[in-house]
Symmetry: C2
Subunit: 233 residues, 2 copies
DNA sequence: TCAAAAGTGTTATTACTACACCCATGT
DNA sequence: ACATGGGTGTAGTAATAACACTTTTGA
């Protein structure tokens, strides 16, 4: 039915790809997952991981497929970033790319990432090498978007295991916003917000005293969403 | 070069469209520009205005083309909203659509909108009729995005002529956020922010006393952007 | 006992909310 | 003179920012 609405007669089909920007936190730093082809051609070139969208596949499903082929992680936080559609963005021909970004809990399981014919590597976001095509621009946009989003949405929690300590969370937010955060004010605001549920156990891996484990309070969050809670610290 | 990176062999081209969500403020209400086909088939169905993306055309250029074909407005505020890519979103076949949203200064010139074979019409956003395909969902998303964006970016000014009064601006923000705003607090915050430059003249079209005309201070805005100025009222 | 990380309170400043009356002018 | 919309100030409350010491415990 929409053929005439859109004037199908003049339409020419084009190649559509997805590219995934994957963030994680390791060594108290915000890191990006990048890939280097091991085999010719393009051996040695760094890029994001992507794929063409199949004719019978939702665009978002293509992005999920790329991530799932990468590791066996489930329930990955993933969002569409932007459609990159300049004619000359891909030197190999006209390819429109829909970029997705995701957050991965690196510390939790420390799984291996394996992409066929690619070496996967985490790099701190201030040490990203030159990437192919417009992937550098995509990453730049994704970082900006992540920071913007983190101001009003609890993305910090997506980068940590389900049970985490306040010092861990603090370091995640320091990594995202790239500045030191006053830890007394951080605690005060968080604890007052009722966004954390304290668990009756401690994590002693990073200190002798040990620090309390918490989990995220989804109900409180949904309440705060309405009122525009500010996650900046 | 990217042919092998992306594995071009398995790739099949697909149809790509753009659809435009156009907002304006009229009668102190946030309004949406929608279109009804006058001729068969699909006569009487309301929709957004869209077009297919040409092979030698940037996606953003396609969106601009759609807007420019609509009226002779220049320098329209336009942003990409989202890529809608579900397989079955278009009942006429697989079409991936990139939605763009824009803000138009309606009051200023009150120009006519003319789309070939379509009747253009402004409708208040709480009275939008059923739209074809997933256009209703696009509009929903665009409204949410506009409100989100308006909290930290001066989108209110995009909906008014270059010279405007504080009462006008207040009404625009009331329309966007859909609630009454205290006018003393609104003025106080705006005037303190240095975002407005007062002009040595008054607009007397709406009152006998007349109210001062202002223009937007771009320099102040760019300074405030860094520090995360909050445009909520 | 000491090193290393966890945890705790107060004060000053700034932003936000609520609220009611006078002003200027054209008719 | 009066009706209409434009303009102004204050006080209470809430959020934010700056800042230094004590606690716990494994080695």
């Amino acid at each position: 039915m929409s053929k005439l609405l859109h004037n199908y007669n003049n339409a020419e089909p084009q190649l559509i790809a997805v590219d995934c920007i994957v963030f994680g936190v390791e060594d108290n730093q915000l890191q990006l997952l990048i890939f280097k082809r091991e085999v010719e051609p393009l051996a040695g070139e760094w890029s994001l991981l992507g794929s063409f969208v199949k004719p019978n596949e939702d665009v978002s499903a293509a992005a999920k497929r790329v991530l799932e082929e990468l590791s066996d992680l489930k329930d990955i936080y993933m969002e569409q970033l932007h459609c990159y559609g300049n004619v000359d963005r891909d030197s190999g021909g006209r390819v429109i790319s829909i970029a997705y970004w995701s957050l991965i809990r690196v510390n939790q399981t420390h799984e291996e990432f394996h992409a066929e014919n690619h070496i996967a590597k985490w790099v701190p976001i201030d040490q990203i090498p030159k990437l192919v095509l417009d992937h550098g621009k995509m990453v730049e946009d994704a970082i900006e978007h992540l920071r913007e989003r983190a101001r009003f949405h609890p993305v910090g929690f997506e980068l940590l295991p389900e049970e985490f300590t306040i010092p861990q969370l603090l370091k995640v937010y320091e990594a995202i916003f790239d500045h030191k955060i006053d830890d007394r004010n951080f605690r005060k605001k968080l604890l007052k917000s009722d966004l954390l549920i304290q668990l009756p156990k401690k994590d002693k891996t990073t200190s002798k005293k040990g620090s309390f484990l918490y989990k995220f309070n989804q109900e409180t969050y949904e309440r705060l969403l309405q009122s525009g809670y500010n996650f900046e610290f």
